[in-house]
């Protein structure tokens, strides 16, 4: 970041340059976040467009870093389709380099309202890391899990992202069944809540906001 800051210190002396640079960054950041949130929700462009009551080609521009004419009404429609709110504010130029270096898909992800920790139960004991990931999903069933550094099992929704995580839980024989469906491996240890049988066959994962109910049996069975 030091190199970037040094370069921008010189380049930003030109007013036209710094405004064009900042505007380009805002466009790219907005487009990236819209794309990231859509993918986080497992939705296609056509699905988000349908939620907004527009055609897919009309929606596609919102995911283009070169799109430069943003209307707040349209952004509110995108926000509603993705279950988040819109926030617009002013910043100093000095914060731009750091903001740029911190930009990544994880930093742009957000839970829908339905999974927002502020409005779901047991929010007080879920670790910040879990808020970022495990609460961001779209589930109609619940698993309880034990986040690192938390006291006792937590009941919350199991996000789509967990398809890519490594996780394990006690099976009916008390041994650990382990799934390894993907390459991202922040390991968490879900424990099936008391109401569910403590077998892998009792677990179902809902994805895509109740549109689909995908049984995890196959994934689990394959891994076990």
């Amino acid at each position: 970041m030091k190199d970037l800051l040094q370069s921008l210190k010189v380049e930003f002396q030109d007013e036209d340059y710094r405004y064009a640079y900042a505007q380009s960054f805002l466009n790219a950041k907005l487009a990236s976040q819209i794309k990231t949130l859509r993918e986080q929700r497992g939705m296609t462009q056509a699905q988000v467009a349908a939620e907004m009551d527009i055609k897919q080609p009309g929606y596609r521009r919102f995911e283009d870093a070169n799109h430069s004419v943003w209307k707040t009404d349209s952004l509110w429609n995108v926000a509603r389709a993705l279950g988040v709110r819109l926030d617009i504010g002013f910043r100093t130029f000095g914060t731009l380099p750091e903001e740029k270096t911190r930009l990544n898909a994880e930093s742009l992800k957000l839970p829908r309202f339905e999974d927002d920790p502020a409005f779901t139960e047991n929010t007080g004991t879920v670790s910040p890391r879990m808020k970022m990931t495990a609460l961001s999903g779209l589930s109609s069933r619940y698993l309880s899990y034990e986040p690192p550094n938390a006291i006792g099992p937590q009941r919350t929704s199991l996000p789509t992202e967990l398809w890519n995580f490594t996780f394990s839980w006690p099976d009916s024989e008390g041994a650990n069944a382990k799934s390894d469906p993907g390459t991202r491996t922040p390991s968490i240890n879900p424990v099936v809540e008391a109401a569910q049988p403590k077998t892998q066959r009792g677990i179902h994962l809902a994805i895509d906001n109740r549109r689909q109910l995908e049984p995890m049996n196959q994934q689990v069975g394959d891994a076990a």
Binding site: E11, Y21, A28, A31, A105
Partner: protein, 139 residues
């Protein structure tokens, strides 16, 4: 430290930065250079996923991709040609400059030029540089 690096092809005996030279020849405005530099910086800091639409998803020729820097009304539509690598997976090399007018790339032979530059670069890896678009020329 940046995770990605963007390089510019060095052309001719003088080894001029082909893209900076092209920006000068085309009299590209400060505003568009700033937008171009921003996209390069974001790509270097955060990877291509954080600048969706900047680099075409499909190649325009073998291993050649089109970059897109949109200009406002009355401005040129910049379409520099680049390749992934070619020496490492976390780098891009911008090979030649082009603009798009009425859906057509100018100059017409830009794909061939970019392919020729890529071939030259592969034969001589020193024919590229990573620097700012606004860097002062040494000559």
């Amino acid at each position: 430290m940046a995770k990605w690096t963007v390089y510019f092809f060095l052309e001719g005996l003088r080894r001029d930065n082909a893209i900076r030279k092209w920006l000068g020849e085309e009299r590209i405005s400060t505003v568009q250079i700033a937008a171009f530099q921003d996209k390069i910086d974001t790509l270097e800091e955060s990877g291509p996923e954080m600048v969706p639409g900047f680099i075409s998803g499909t190649p325009v020729a073998k291993d050649i991709y089109k970059m897109k820097v949109k200009g406002n009304k009355g401005m040129k539509q910049l379409r520099p040609m680049c390749c992934r690598g070619p020496f490492a997976s976390n780098e891009y090399t911008i090979l030649a400059g082009a603009v798009e007018k009425d859906g057509k790339l100018i100059p017409k032979d830009i794909k061939q030029r970019a392919a020729d530059n890529l071939r030259e670069l592969k034969a001589d890896p020193s024919r590229r540089v990573s620097e700012r678009l606004t860097a002062k020329s040494e000559s």
